[in-house]
Symmetry: C2
Subunit: 164 residues, 2 copies
């Protein structure tokens, strides 16, 4: 029995959130595939020259994922998460707060809420929200280069999706 209170002023969700929106030249179904099929994900998930040598996806609610990002100097960053909501071609929600089997992770950092809306003419309105538990983590994510990094990745994602 926890004692979470309502959000006090100053930590309203908007202050803990980062959002990227793009119109991508590929259908929602294709963009969704690029977010859920490991072989496609590996082609765009990190801003080049970073790579993602390992991507494991258990695409079901409560299924885990495991993603290793590798920097240009060879340093690897492993991340584990779990899928919270899956609406094929429309929505994907995941978090690093829990991992497979709902085990709590070492540190809840953010929940990713992705929507893929039909923008007509085979295009997708792609919205990626990263909602954090603390304002400090939102700031840290922003300083890590969220906007540039996710922006660059959205371009790479479009490149992969538009060729499917």
């Amino acid at each position: 029995m926890s004692t979470n209170a309502e959000n006090p002023a100053g930590t309203a969700p908007a202050n803990r959130e980062l959002v990227l929106t793009r119109i991508l030249n590929a259908s929602p179904e294709k963009v969704f595939r690029c977010w859920t099929e490991p072989e496609l994900m590996k082609q765009w998930f990190c801003p080049r020259p970073w790579t993602t040598p390992v991507i494991e996806v258990d695409l079901r609610v409560g299924g885990g994922n495991f993603i290793v990002m590798r920097g240009p100097d060879g340093t690897e960053f492993p991340n584990r998460g779990v899928y919270l909501e899956i609406v094929p071609g429309k929505k994907l929600v995941f978090t690093d707060a829990n991992t497979k089997g709902w085990e709590p992770s070492e540190k809840p950092f953010f929940t990713g809420i992705l929507t893929f809306e039909d923008a007509g003419n085979g295009k997708t309105k792609y919205t990626a929200r990263a909602v954090h538990w603390t304002v400090a983590d939102r700031e840290s994510h922003e300083k890590m280069g969220f906007h540039e990094g996710w922006g660059k990745c959205a371009e790479q994602l479009e490149e992969v999706a538009s060729k499917l």
Copy 2:
């Protein structure tokens, strides 16, 4: 992109977990109902003389719940959470890390993993696991009286379920 590493030694899941197991004299279906129907929940959710004046349940994955616990002196403790996994009559998983719409809560405290196994003769093997993000939170939950509180509640739950 977070940088969660593997759990270092000392914070293995077992050290962050509290578990209660009971054989209850009611079927898994009835015990599950008592965990998911607000009017039934109100009858057992807090160890008496505590009460639960407000229980709202949106029983779907990603649906929120809102539970207000009231102490004997009238102090109220509001809690919000979200359902992660629902297997009618068998399993229920929820967390206070996120709330409805997957918004991160103010403070992730624990994830509850409940299983309701058929123990024969109309009885249920009821297992309630509370898995925390930190050892400190597990200890704090234990000091709040997890074992006595959840144990007493399990008795109250059995009382309500066995009359259905």
